[in-house]
């Protein structure tokens, strides 16, 4: 499955993921400390500058991912225009854009494996039993593998509905879709058990 990491290589791709996440947390908290719209506009300009540094493709992709915020920008602008508090509204809108843009920047410059490394490091102090960490790793791999499989089966169900009906597939296809997922889950669980199960490594380690 394709992750949201940018294929355009940047300097930040080489930075440790933990450092980037720490900086993101600090920056997001810092955004809430700012209340001057000019300062907030400067922050957004710096963030856009960061997106522009690796080139036009990176900038366009980054700005494209902010497009989902447009309904909120429209609602807030209209609201503040009506209440006559446009300056206050500008601060809120710019803060929202900066917070999302900074977080997206970390996602775009950090590979999935680096992020999983951070997840593993965060789980380490919890001292979870080996079978639990193994279960999490297997579950993550299974979701990444099975999402495209289920998606394809869902699209096939919708197509077969269309072949039999004049109308578009509606929520009726969700039931066979869930049943397909449940049956597949049962079969995969059996296969996993037949190959020794999740706890095998732990059992071997303890010599049982």
């Amino acid at each position: 499955m394709i992750s949201l990491t940018s294929p355009v290589r940047t300097v930040a791709h080489g930075w440790p993921a933990g450092v980037k996440l720490g900086l993101l947390c600090a920056a997001t908290v810092g955004l809430y400390a700012l209340s001057d719209p000019r300062a907030m506009a400067a922050v957004v300009a710096v963030v856009v500058g960061l997106y522009a540094l690796p080139g036009r493709v990176f900038l366009r992709t980054g700005l494209g991912r902010l497009w989902v915020l447009w309904p909120f920008v429209v609602i807030l602008t209209l609201w503040h225009a009506v209440t006559g508090a446009l300056v206050e509204g500008a601060t809120v809108i710019l803060r929202m854009i900066a917070a999302v843009a900074l977080a997206n920047l970390v996602t775009m410059t950090t590979s999935l494996s680096d992020m999983m490394g951070v997840m593993r490091a965060l789980m380490r102090p919890l001292r979870l039993p080996l079978r639990v960490t193994r279960a999490v790793e297997i579950a993550v791999a299974m979701v990444i593998r099975m999402t495209p499989v289920l998606l394809e089966k869902g699209l096939l169900l919708a197509q077969s509905w269309r072949a039999r009906s004049m109308r578009r597939a509606n929520w009726n296809i969700v039931l066979p879709f869930v049943l397909v997922a449940l049956d597949d889950a049962e079969r995969v669980a059996e296969a996993l058990k037949a190959r020794g199960g999740i706890a095998t490594d732990e059992a071997n380690r303890h010599g049982t």
Binding site: L4, M96, V106, L112, T147, L175, L182, A189, L192
Partner: protein, 181 residues
Amino acid sequence: MERDVTLIAFFAALIAALGLIPAIPLGFGVPITAQNLGVMLCGTVLGARRGALSVLLFLGLVALGLPLLSGGRGGLGVFTGPTAGFLVGWVVSAIVAGLIVRHWRGVSLTVSAAVGALVGAVVVSYAFGIVWLAHMLDRTLVEATGMMLVFIPGDVIKAVIAGFLTASIYKARPHMVLSRR
């Protein structure tokens, strides 16, 4: 253990797939994504604990950078955006839906699952979503609620559908509806 892990993983994949297939038209011809229908089913079918773990796993993968949310969205940005509260609310809504289905035995599964999904996905999820939205956009809770009112009818319809689906799943695969065991 293996069965629990695969069910949790498959339901996380199901939430993703329901968000990625083209929007399904509900009654009145309004097309909506079925992603939070998947979240409701996590609670009503898998139960509180497994359902919440499944939603957590899904959100964890979204945070890691996989484009699993409807419209191919994902990454850390969705957790700092105005709708992040709804995502956190999904975990609690699966727990609430699972608990209602497990403990409310005096009625048919359709009713308890529909009410569980309604309380979880509409009351609980919206509570989290609206509080975060109000904080993020610097609005009052009433104003933030007003912004979200338009989405509530669709989610109420989805909760009713989740009730019927859970009962149908129970008829077809009774041993798989773990919320009733």
